[in-house]
């Protein structure tokens, strides 16, 4: 029998610090926060994007718009995986000529991001698209890389990474489940 | 010579556990004897071969569905040693030579006694009488336009008066065309929910009621085919109570299924009369057991597979039944052995006037026999008939024909 014992690798405070650091990196790279729009990928990318926007507004005099994107209709594995609950797609502004920063909780194979890029290109023509993730766990199957990473977390394929955020769950943090025989 | 061992033999005095020998087409003795062939009945019932008052052999004219030979094979597999073949062939059996043709083909196949029924009207068109005398001379005793009812009461009266005098039986397919028009299944809760035009019990009852008045007037022997509703049962009971010479039959499928089966939309559940309500099904079983309904008749109606692979409303009416009849009746109403054979062999033989059939077994009785194990379980999957349109496919049944003997020869065998 496989028993999974989750090991916490980031607590709530760690997550907050990572989000704040990412917010600083974004505004540093773009010399401020003009013409930026953060788009969170459902489900937990959305509250993380909102967290980044809130952090930016604390030290820049800008309110960065935040959107939501569901990539359920763009996935390449619709045949095999059960259709999880769909979230809505809601863009606060037209993304054409803006710099879009996609935000997700975990970067893994890269397929979700590929789907998000397809979705974005159907929704407009941004000037540039960047990627911010809380966790990069490796094992990319496509040539996708994140511009901003909260924490690099090398994992094995059997492990499972769980992210929880205060805005949605009762707690906040990152856990790895390591299966044991 | 055939010896049957370990049999429960149905004699005029009831079931007796004994052996039996058959010789030169007759029952030689109720004991073991010298024989070339030995059958071990293992306690199964041995009784008179079943007699079907109502089956469609489709020859001449519809041989892709069935013919007299394949129908005879199916009959033998179902334990039948005699069949009354319905006249709705092409051409219809409305003249003597056509009746002789059917009987000859039956003899040539040599597996079962085929007694042709004759039409009441020429071509079964309901406009003028068929050659009733010719048919009678050719041996026909049961007259019916089966497939349709005789609508013209004046014409039916003449036929009844004629046949009352000669001694034939008028058998009616009771279906009032106006009330039945456009209907595909029983008019009730299920047809309403499915949006299928229904065929009410009234269509049958109205014609039976009318006919019984004519029977009272003419005194003819009258037989109601495939009774399906409580209303019809009551009419028949009333007529018998009034002393009219009325008999009635019911099919195994009407004893087994109600209209909820149609929700599967499979044409295997489409027939006339349609399957009706649970209450009707229960009433039919009771009526058979208490004698209001006299006999079981299969209304074996083969339709080729490609004809049945269509939407329900477009499917032809009718299902096969020879091979599953006894098992179905046994499963549905669990009759005592003598009762089962009374309803499936003895009484049908009397109604059809077949003197060599339906006789309880004793020394000298004709060797038209069936070995039937009432406890064997089986599930019908494929059928000997050319057609496969059976509502019993995949249905677990209790009771199985183990062997059939016709004129002293084994025509079917499932025993080791």
């Amino acid at each position: 029998m496989i028993q999974a014992t989750p090991v916490q690798v980031m607590d709530g405070a760690d997550v907050r610090r990572a989000i704040r650091r990412i917010a600083h990196e974004i505004s540093e790279r773009h010399h401020g926060a003009e013409n930026l729009v953060l788009i969170g990928i459902h489900t937990r990318g959305v509250p993380i994007a909102e967290g980044i926007a809130r952090a930016i507004s604390e030290f820049e005099d800008t309110h960065v718009p935040v959107g939501e994107l569901d990539v359920g209709f763009y996935r390449d594995d619709l045949d095999h995986r059960p259709t999880t609950r769909l979230g809505r797609t809601l863009l606060p502004i037209d993304v054409t000529d803006e710099t879009v920063v996609l935000v997700d909780d975990v970067l893994y194979t890269g397929r979700t991001i590929r789907a998000a890029l397809d979705a974005i290109s159907d929704l407009g023509r941004p000037a540039a698209v960047e990627l911010a993730v809380l966790i990069d766990r490796g094992h990319r199957q496509l040539p996708i890389r994140a511009d901003y990473v909260g924490k690099n977390l090398p994992t094995s394929l059997q492990e499972r990474v769980t992210v929880r955020v205060e805005a949605m769950d009762r707690e906040q943090g990152v856990w790895i489940e390591r299966p044991q025989m | 010579m055939i010896a049957i061992h370990n049999a429960r033999v149905l004699t005029p005095d009831g079931p007796i556990d004994t052996d039996l020998t058959v010789r030169e087409g007759a029952v030689n003795s109720l004991s073991a004897g010298q024989a070339e062939t030995h059958l071990d009945a293992r306690g199964a019932l041995v009784g008179p071969g079943f007699v079907d008052l109502h089956c469609h052999l489709r020859e001449p004219g519809f041989e892709w569905k069935e013919d007299i030979r394949s129908g005879s094979k199916a009959a033998a597999a179902g334990g039948y040693t005699a069949l009354v073949a319905m006249p709705n062939t092409n051409p219809a059996i409305d003249s003597g030579h056509l009746a002789r043709f059917v009987a000859d083909r039956g003899r040539a196949a040599g597996l079962v006694e085929v007694a042709p029924a004759g039409a009441i009207t020429m071509g079964r068109t309901g406009t003028s009488l068929a050659h009733l005398d010719e048919l009678f001379e050719a041996g026909v005793r049961i007259f019916t336009d089966d497939g349709v009812g005789v609508a013209d009461a004046g014409l039916l009266r003449h036929a009844m008066e004629y046949l009352a005098e000669r001694g034939g039986v008028v058998a009616q397919h009771a279906e009032d065309a106006g009330l039945a028009r456009g209907g595909h299944m029983h008019e009730g809760v299920v047809s309403s929910r499915l949006g299928i035009r229904g065929l009410p019990s009234l269509a049958e009852e109205v014609m039976v009621a009318r006919d019984l008045a004519l029977v009272a007037h003419t005194g003819v022997r009258y037989h109601v085919m495939h009774v399906s509703s409580r209303g019809s049962i009551e009419l028949v009971a009333g007529a018998k109570g009034a002393g009219l010479t009325v008999t009635a039959e019911v099919t195994p499928h009407h004893l087994s299924f109600d209209h909820s089966r149609v929700e599967t939309m499979e044409p295997g559940f489409k027939m006339y009369p349609p399957l009706r309500t649970e209450t009707d099904v229960t009433a039919l079983g009771k009526a058979l057991l208490n004698g209001t309904i006299d006999a079981v008749a299969t209304d074996h109606a083969p339709h080729a597979p490609h004809e049945c692979e269509v939407p329900f409303e477009e499917a032809p009416r009718g299902v096969i039944g020879l091979e599953t009849a006894a098992a179905a009746v046994n499963t549905a109403i669990e009759p005592a052995p003598m009762t089962l054979f009374e309803k499936m062999s003895v009484t049908p033989a009397l109604i059809a006037g077949l003197s060599g059939q339906g006789r309880w077994i004793e020394e000298g009785s004709p060797a038209n026999l069936v070995i039937f194990d009432p406890d064997a379980s089986w599930v019908p999957q494929g059928f000997v008939s050319k057609s496969q349109n059976s509502p019993f496919r995949g249905v677990k049944l209790r009771g199985k024909v183990m062997a059939t003997i016709f004129c002293g020869r084994i025509t079917y065998q499932a025993l080791q």
Binding site: F73 | V189, S192, M265, E309
Partner: protein, 305 residues
């Protein structure tokens, strides 16, 4: 869920799941590029053995908005009239590489038969007087958007209910979602065994107008040949037609629906049909999103029950 053949096969949760999915597709249809690649590379075949342009176009639009390819089988002038059986026709279409079939047929149960012969999912696009499931779903979606929910909603369905597959599907869908349904028709056009239906009935239209949230008008089916059971057309219009005066008897928030195509001046007055409280065009646009939801549900997530 392998096929969608009848609303009676769906429970409340399944219906609501499809409506939720349809909401997502409404958002997709409002984009500049109203298309997603979810069914790219798949082929949807429409087999309409009964003529209908609007429903078939709606299914076609839905399939294309999901990036599927569409094959339209048109029975007139086809081999079917040369005697090819229904079974052979659908097997031929399947052999060309079909991932989903939408079947409309005049015989009850035909889509179910097709489903037993082919490997792919089948959507019932309307079978005889039996069911028209996607119509009921889009109608339910329309009401949910207008009123928030259907629980307690007072709905009247008016017209030839006995012969209407739209009515049968709607009765199933609306009652499953908690609405109170009343059927209004002359006695010969109400379903038989009406006591077995979870509805009320009335043979008089005017008496109930004031207590309705929704009046759903069925098309008078002149082409189905109701024969002697239908009173004369002027008589029908006089008793059951929704004219301006009767429209005025409805509550201020009550809405009018119709599955289309409308016989203006018969079951519905022309100016009533154009009133903002008549939701007919909403029904049509909701139809595409609804059909997208059904196709998406049937063709993806095979792991899903």
């Amino acid at each position: 869920m392998k096929h969608l053949l009848s609303i009676a096969d769906l429970d409340r949760a399944a219906i609501e799941g499809l409506l939720d999915l349809a909401d997502h597709f409404t958002e997709v249809l409002e984009r500049d590029i109203p298309k997603v690649p979810a069914l790219r590379g798949m082929t949807v075949a429409t087999l309409f053995f009964e003529t209908s342009t609007r429903t078939r176009l709606s299914f076609e639009k839905a399939a294309k908005a999901l990036s599927a390819d569409v094959l339209n089988f048109n029975p007139s002038g086809s081999s079917l009239s040369k005697g090819e059986s229904l079974k052979d026709t659908v097997l031929t279409v399947q052999a060309m590489g079909t991932d989903l079939m939408v079947v409309r047929h005049g015989a009850v149960g035909a889509p179910a038969r097709v489903a037993s012969w082919v490997d792919c999912p089948v959507i019932n696009g309307g079978d005889g007087a039996h069911q028209h499931p996607t119509q009921a779903l889009l109608d339910a979606l329309t009401l949910r958007r207008r009123f928030g929910k259907l629980d307690g909603l007072r709905v009247a369905i008016v017209g030839d209910i006995r012969n209407s597959r739209v009515a049968r599907s709607n009765i199933d869908a609306f009652t499953a979602l908690g609405a109170a349904v009343t059927l209004v028709a002359p006695p010969t056009l109400l379903p038989l065994e009406i006591g077995s239906y979870p509805v009320s009935t009335s043979t008089e239209l005017e008496s109930i107008l004031g207590d309705l949230d929704v009046i759903y008008l069925l098309r008078v089916q002149l082409e189905r040949g109701s024969g002697p059971v239908l009173p004369s057309l002027p008589e029908y219009v006089a008793r059951y037609g929704l004219d301006r005066r009767r429209f005025g008897l409805l509550g201020k928030e009550a809405v009018v629906m119709h599955p289309g195509p409308m016989n203006r001046g018969i079951e519905i007055a022309s100016d009533v049909a154009d009133d903002p409280r008549a939701l007919i065009t909403d029904q049509v646009s909701n139809g595409v999103a609804t059909r997208m939801a059904v196709m998406f549900r049937l063709l993806t997530g095979k792991g899903q029950p």
